[in-house]
Amino acid sequence: MSHLLLRQRDIPGIDQLETYRQHGGFAAFKKAVTSMQPQEVTDMVKASGLRGRGGAGFPTGVKWGFIPKDILPHYVVANADESEPGTFKDREIMAGNPFQFLEGIAITAYATGAETAYIYLRGEFWQVAQFLDDKIADMEKAGLLGDKIFGSAFNLRIHTHLGAGAYICGEETALLESIEGKRGQPRIRPPFPAVYGLYGKPTVVNNVETLANVPLIVEKGAEWYRSLGTADSAGVKIFSLSGHVKKPGNYELPFGTTYRELIYTHGGGVLDDRPVKAILSAGASSAGIPGADRTRATPMDYASVRTLGADLGSASVIVINDSVDLDWVINKTIHFFKHESCGKCTPCREGTYWMMHLIEHIHAGEDVQANTELLLSVAKQMQNKCLCPLGEFSTMAVTTAIERFPDDFKPSSGGGKHG
């Protein structure tokens, strides 16, 4: 099957406006603006079953439906912060197939009544931002952005905005604060951005990959889209595969593809042909799943992955073979979260700092059993108390590693296999 999102892999030069248009580009946008009411577009996306690709998997059309019509203006914000370790799909979409992403923004803006859209990119993506700026300029020249698009009353401008190097700014409310020029720290929710978003106005925040799906749905219909994937997970997904695999990279596959197929068929198998010890299903913030037969046979869709005690999330699959112990893995994730904790709420600020010290002790083989018990207790103590989801995420790998891989936290294993 040819790619629907990573179309650059099939069509060279699709990052050029001409080429993109030759392959049907902006037909969906034109169709929406000239022949559909905004509500029809929203209904169509709702019917397609499209769910947010940033990790939460919230139904996209439903999110759009939350935008109150009586508070103006509305904004669309593309979350291109992509800062989760192990996630690298959005960059490839933006760099390779930029117009499909931009078209998705444009249709979303039309559907939600926004005349201004922002693309928030992590600071390290400055080259991508410059590239997108050029593409936006191309669209403006071609009359695809600006005033009275396609002769309608619809106006739209898209701006890129660079972050300054904080993981937390991938969280949607911190992202909005950052665009506003404030310190990138999450807001209390509710109110949600759909009601009180950018500059206090109703705002749709969607992930890059989510938005890239929108033109497909408008062009080919909700039915067609639903026919891809599984019952609860419509469409295709880009799986970012990394870790101990021979061919790490992005793989665009239908939902429901098994871990086994991803790792062995597409990823070329595990490094050194060792067994899969564990899988982190959604980057550093995910639960660790034992790499048992059952796991490998599990289809990757929202419901099935949940049966493994984990989440599909952004589908950033990190494969860990038996050359390392899980204490080494969570040492990495804890250091990451300690470094990235924004410090706004107590449990995350203090908890990640505490966890870092404890895992260092475990790692050094000091009082491993007691420190492991304490680490588990501290991680659980953080859960359900943090201000934003990212604080909670920092504990996922920790608790599951200790509970599901107890052998890796035995006194004898301290100072053992560490990559």
């Binding site: 310190r183 209390i188 300690k338 904790s341 410090g343 108390k385």
Partner: protein, 691 residues
């Protein structure tokens, strides 16, 4: 009226206005939910997570929209997660559990997290004894730490944020109250967070550092000992100190304060004032005071005190007994009919009333040591019971003419900034830029001598839009010429039937308004009046000689000088009779604020030497002349004032001592809610009658 909502908190039925936050609803029912970042004067942020509680809401049947019943009671659905009581508004039928096992465990766990980074140096911490973190730790936390002490986060412990405030970065729990206070309440966002995660620190962004006249308030609302004041730091422990209610004498706002005192060896066994703290009066200063009031009014402590009456003999001042000094002064007053009283607004209503009565008795003149015009206008057009800066919002217009409130009456600046936030229109006419300018709806900068003219022009200025104002307040200062008060008064006289309109003078001293109400008049030519007088009584640290406003000619015949003053000044050095007076901290009495609110202050420290309150000194002098004035207590004098002056009618010390519950409720055992500002238990004061 807001719609009322009923809910249950810890089994207690509570009814509060819709939109009330759970933490405040609980507070109103006497249930204290612990908080650190929440403060009732600021927007909730839900950062510290200390206030997590269990929240249940009635289950609603989707089809019928009716509450689901279970055993005859509405079924309550509890969320999987605890919710922050400081950010969650109440809803009908809600059930809140703040003391359930789950909620208590959570509160204890958050405390444990906070303490992992806290130095626990309570024994040397200024906040120890009145510290929310300490109190909550003692009440709820585990006696043992699971955190290795050696791994504690270390940071600077002596970081000057400005010249008045010190930051201990280890003690800081990143609640951002100080940052938000400067940002939201004051409108001077000079503090900020720097770095992130465990490395998060408070920094100042202004130059000079912590550039705000309200900086001291951050130490009151800091829930730990992270912010301390330069003057009190390592000065005393809270439990060693006594508290006396007082009124700040440094400007006409009349901020309610509490003086904390301690007897200490360092002061030779004397009782000294260790610090000045705000005392809640929501109609005057809320729970704030300015840095001048907090830090500067101990300044006279370096000045030499007069402890005994003195009499000039052979050109030298010699100590005598009171009876002797009074007799000498009385004799002179009997001989010389041409009496001039020069009194300042440092004196209390009682002092001034007695002085005025004495002057009247002898046919003398009572002059206020203050050349600022406009006194008569403020007594007739001044504020009354309906005037409350805290109520100003949409529909109110405030004109500020020729005054720099930020420096002259800082709390008025703060209150008017907040009024502007609530929708009141500020119209500022001044010759110089002021810090209030940025909150102005209409701003006029002009030359000094044009301010009065511009004010007159406002009446017809559509941008100023005075006509449409439901309430109009006009503040005028002393910087822009003698015509200004009349021009301001005219703005108000042009309107009628607006009961809360008011003209307010931004006087130099705490009780200038009181002096004017009692009948003192300002003088435009002090020297000429002095030279014409036979006897002059100077009272209330009126030191015109020291200020260069008066020359007492050598060799030339000069009037006999009776000086009542606590301190040695250039004027007292020239006295013929020196009568040692008590300071405001040594006695009781009352001041009338610029908003015409009479408020009582109480003694905080023992009197110095043989000094007497001014009203008593004047009563003794009057007795010598056959005039019976009340001199036994300030209370007695106030009773006479109320009988003699219609604007003071009905006021007595009992009324002045009345309090009613003020919101937010602060200062009780749970210092974490409002900070260390004192609850007002000594009286909120009473407005003078409107003329």
């Amino acid at each position: 009226m807001a719609k009322m909502v009923s809910l249950t908190i810890d089994g207690r039925e509570v009814t509060v206005p819709e939109g009330t936050l759970i933490v405040n609803a609980a507070k109103s029912a006497g249930i204290d939910i612990p908080v650190f970042c929440y403060h009732p004067k600021m927007e909730p942020v839900g950062m510290c997570r200390q206030c997590l509680v269990e929240v249940g809401r009635p289950a609603i049947d989707r089809a019928s929209g009716q509450a689901v019943m279970e055993d005859g009671k509405p079924k309550i659905n509890f969320g999987a997660k605890l919710e922050t009581a400081c950010t969650t508004p109440v809803s009908a039928g809600m059930v809140v559990l703040s003391r359930s096992e789950k909620a208590q465990a959570s509160q204890k766990e958050i405390l444990e997290f906070l303490l992992t980074s806290h130095p626990l140096d309570c024994p040397v911490c200024d906040k120890g004894g009145e510290c929310p973190l300490q109190n909550l730790t003692m009440a709820h936390a585990s006696p043992q730490s699971r955190f290795q002490f050696s791994e504690k986060h270390h940071a600077g412990k002596h970081v000057p944020l400005g010249d008045k405030i010190w930051l201990d970065r280890e003690r800081c729990i990143q609640c951002a109250r100080c940052i938000r206070f400067q940002d939201e309440v004051v409108g001077e966002p000079v503090l900020a967070f720097y770095q992130r995660g465990r490395a998060t620190d408070i920094i100042t962004r202004s130059e000079p550092p912590f550039d705000s006249i309200f900086s001291g308030n951050t130490t009151d609302i800091c829930p730990v000992g992270a912010l301390t004041t330069a003057d009190f730091r390592f000065g005393a422990r809270p439990w060693e100190m006594k508290a006396a209610a007082s009124i700040c004498p440094l400007c006409p706002v009349g901020c309610n304060v509490t003086l904390n005192t301690r007897r200490e060896a360092k002061a030779g066994g004397k009782v000294v004032i260790k610090r000045v703290m705000p005392r809640q009066n929501e109609q005057v200063n809320e729970i704030w005071i300015c840095d001048r009031g907090r830090f500067n009014w101990n300044a006279p402590k370096d000045m030499e005190r007069w402890e005994q009456p003195m009499l000039r003999r052979d050109g030298e001042l010699q100590a005598v007994r009171w009876s002797e000094a009074i007799r000498a002064a009385g004799a002179k007053l009997k001989d010389e009919k041409n009496l001039l009283v020069i009194a300042s607004g440092w004196l209390s209503n009682e002092d001034l009333f007695n002085l005025k009565a004495l002057a009247d008795h002898l046919g003398g003149k009572a002059r206020l040591y203050n050349q600022m015009p406009g006194g008569e206008a403020t007594t007739s057009l001044g504020a009354g019971a309906g005037t409350n800066l805290g109520d100003l919002g949409k529909g109110a217009t405030v004109v500020i003419a020729g005054a720099d409130l930020y420096h002259q009456a800082p709390i008025w600046h703060l209150r008017l900034k907040q009024a502007a936030d609530r929708g009141a229109r500020l119209v500022i006419v001044n010759s110089e830029p002021t810090r209030l300018d940025r909150h102005a709806a209409h701003l006029v900068h002009c030359k000094k001598d044009e301010v009065a003219k511009k004010i007159a022009g406002l009446a017809k200025d559509s941008e100023a839009a005075l006509d449409s104002a439901e309430t109009l307040l006009v503040f005028f200062g002393d910087q822009c010429g003698p015509d200004l008060p009349a021009a301001c008064a005219a703005l108000l006289r042009a309107r009628s039937g607006k009961p809360n309109d008011a003209l307010i003078g931004v006087w130099a001293r705490a009780n200038d308004q009181g002096a004017l109400e009692i009948g003192f008049q300002t003088t435009t030519d002090l020297q000429a009046e002095f030279d014409r007088a036979g006897v002059v009584i100077f009272a209330g640290a009126a030191d015109p000689v020291g200020a260069g406003a008066l020359k007492v000619g050598a060799g030339k015949k000069r009037p006999f000088m009776i000086v009542q003053d606590p301190y040695r000044t250039a004027t007292t050095n020239l006295a013929d009779v020196l009568l040692p007076a008590q300071t405001v901290t040594e006695r009781d009495g009352s001041f009338t604020s610029g908003e015409r609110r009479v408020q009582r202050f109480l003694p905080a420290v023992p009197k110095c030497g043989d000094s007497l309150p001014d009203y008593a000194i004047t009563a003794r002098l009057a007795g010598e002349l056959g005039l019976a004035l009340a001199g036994g207590s300030a209370r007695e004098v106030m009773d006479r004032i109320a009988l003699a002056l219609p604007n003071f009618a009905g006021i007595d010390f009992g009324k002045l001592a009345e309090v009613h519950e003020q919101l937010p409720i602060i200062g009780r055992a749970d210092l974490y809610y409002g900070g260390t500002s004192y609850q007002n238990s000594q009286g909120l004061g009473v407005h003078l009658q409107k003329a």
